[in-house]
């Protein structure tokens, strides 16, 4: 059974800091990591391989540094990695990303499952998985808590809001994995060392059988108009002062004044 896992390298947005002078975001020096949720997808693929045999391929689109993320995935034990890096791919929205990944899947040709994390911590759109499934005409099984293969079909326990569902689909199919499922393993030292010896092919537009105008920023239907730092300043705060008993009385007084109590 052959599985392809799509991963994204993201800035560790929990490490973001602000310039106290200008109030703007400091992007420099933020470490890049494998999107945490994508590690759950890798773990799911590795467990399925352990049970059903086959190969796990990991693929990522991004700037040249995305190689680090792919090496880390190889270190976790995936069999091979493919990198999509070209200036034409830069600025892709979810449509163009799904298109480019889809072309790569067609080039890989033979696969039974594509597994993605539910969403990335930077964009948090959760769109690339379903869009890739649509492009390839695959059944889409989102929010997987558990995956198993039964009689050459795939079964997924799906957490759909407050519903727990069991879905079954023929393969190939595309699955997105929940954050709570498949806690990723710690990479063993021997596979980490092996990972550094592995060749990672880099695919560019010429390697993919696509339309050039569909890649990257030009191919993206959505366009960024502006980015700004949210201003949340109400600027009319009234401080309630005094010891705990004083502020408690004032607190209740305010609730009464506004008819909350």
């Amino acid at each position: 059974m052959n599985i392809i896992v799509c991963i994204k390298q993201v800035p560790d947005v929990t490490e973001v800091s602000w310039d106290p002078e200008t109030g703007s975001l400091i992007r420099k020096g933020i470490p890049s990591i494998i999107n945490p949720n994508d590690k759950n997808a890798i773990e799911a693929a590795l467990q399925l391989r352990e049970m059903n045999g086959g190969e796990v391929t990991v693929i990522s689109m991004g700037p040249s540094q995305v190689e680090e993320a792919l090496r880390e995935a190889l270190g976790m034990g995936v069999d091979r990695a493919i990198q999509l890096t070209a200036k034409q791919f830069a600025g892709s929205d979810t449509w163009a990303t799904a298109y480019t990944l889809g072309l790569a899947m067609k080039k890989i040709g033979q696969y039974d499952l594509i597994i993605c994390g539910k969403e990335a911590i930077d964009g948090m759109t959760a769109q690339v998985g379903p869009q890739l499934a649509e492009y390839l005409g695959l059944p889409q099984l989102a929010y997987a808590m558990h995956i198993e293969v039964v009689d050459s079909k795939v079964r997924v326990k799906q957490k759909l809001g407050d519903l727990d569902r069991l879905l079954e689909a023929p393969m190939p199919a595309l699955i997105t994995v929940e954050r709570e499922a498949y806690q990723p393993r710690v990479a063993p030292m021997d596979t980490i060392l092996e990972a550094y010896g592995k060749e990672i092919p880099v695919w560019k537009p010429d390697d993919l059988n696509g339309e050039v105008e569909n890649f990257g920023l030009t191919g993206s239907p959505t366009k960024l108009r502006k980015v700004y730092t949210p201003k949340l300043i109400k600027g009319k705060i009234e401080m309630l002062e005094g010891g705990p008993e004083d502020v408690a009385r004032k607190f209740i007084g305010k609730l009464k004044e506004k008819y909350i109590l």
Binding site: V16, M124, E134, P139, V227
Partner: protein
């Protein structure tokens, strides 16, 4: 992708309506309210798109909440949400009827459906928006969403493709008033659906075991953050929430520390709330949290640090230790009740 369509042929605003046993999802009604406003700005019809089984009464309800017309796909196979069938039916109608805007709630169902639908329709889709508007000069649909982990906001347009699609976070838009006197048109689709043609089978579907608090329904919220200290403080905060007839909310930190369950998390990776009263206990005011509560009607913040960001958005502020202030409020509340 390159667009080959004449965008001037596309008119009208559509809202996808999600329902459970005929009950429309709250987020869908919120979107009808916002959709009404967008349709009025554009001078076009607001259409609700409803799929389900025996949903005729629901369709009328949607008109009361602001729709001019409701397209209804009523069939036993549509009772449960199915990605394939829902995508097929909506995309077929959208290709024929050509709406310029299509909005979907960013619920688990909406986030599964909208991207698939957008790819089928060769349209862009902006996910998890917190603001929607029309640029009246260009007639463009303008969506605002948090980006970069919620640290910045991005405004996104989709100039050359139609429909212009967005998903919208639940709780962000206000629930519209229901008006039983409103009238509108109901369009029933003729459907020939076949279970055997569906690749994905639903073998089981049960209500989850989680106790399922919906803090979005709470009118009073007492929220706990990192500065509140520890699990013991949480018990105090729970007591205060109960005395105020409210619910406990939390920052991501408090959820990850294990004090509170994830369904109570407010902010970027949690829920968006707009209660009449929000009391923040030991909450610093990081944008990842405040993006989910800044629309609260009254905000009271309690924090040791007088420079905490939260004081910039609060109506009333108390500089002090949560562990001293909260018990004092609790005993004063109890005093006044007896």
């Amino acid at each position: 992708m390159a667009s080959k369509i004449d965008i001037s042929e596309y008119r009208g605003v559509w809202v996808f309506v999600e329902q459970t046993e005929g009950e429309p999802a709250r987020v869908s009604l919120e979107l009808l309210g916002k959709g009404r406003e967008l349709a009025d700005k554009l001078g076009v019809v607001l259409t609700a798109f409803l799929l389900g089984e025996s949903v005729q009464d629901t369709a009328k309800e949607l008109i009361f909440f602001g729709a001019d017309e409701v397209i209804v796909a009523d069939h036993p196979l549509l009772r449960d949400y199915r990605t394939e069938l829902y995508t097929d039916i909506i995309s077929e109608q959208a290709m024929a009827r050509k709406p310029e805007v299509l909005i979907v709630g960013a619920s688990p169902i909406g986030r599964d459906l909208a991207p698939r639908l957008s790819f089928r329709l060769n349209a862009g889709c902006t996910a998890d928006c917190t603001g929607l508007d029309i640029d009246e000069e260009s007639r463009l649909f303008v969506s605002t969403r948090p980006a970069f982990g919620g640290n910045v906001m991005a405004t996104i347009i989709c100039p050359e493709h139609r429909p212009q699609m967005s998903t919208v976070r639940p709780g962000v838009m206000a629930l519209p008033e229901k008006d039983d006197s409103r009238e509108g048109q109901i369009i029933d689709l003729e459907l020939q659906l076949d279970e055997d043609a569906c690749k994905v089978k639903i073998l089981e579907s049960v209500k989850g075991a989680s106790e399922g608090v919906n803090i979005q329904d709470a009118e009073r919220i007492v929220a706990i953050g990192m500065g509140a200290g520890d699990k013991e403080t949480f018990d105090m905060i729970k007591e205060l929430a109960e005395l105020l007839d409210g619910e406990v909310g939390a920052t991501r930190f408090a959820v990850e520390a294990g004090w509170v369950s994830h369904d109570r998390q407010i902010g970027q990776t949690g829920k968006t709330v707009r209660p009449e009263l929000y009391v923040g206990c030991g909450i610093s005011g990081a944008v990842q949290h405040t993006a989910g509560m800044s629309a609260s009607k009254m905000i009271i913040a309690i924090n040791k640090d007088p420079n905490a960001e939260v004081f910039k958005i609060a109506d009333y502020g108390i500089v002090g230790d949560v562990r001293k202030v909260v018990p004092a409020i609790i005993s004063e509340l109890k005093n006044q009740m007896t």
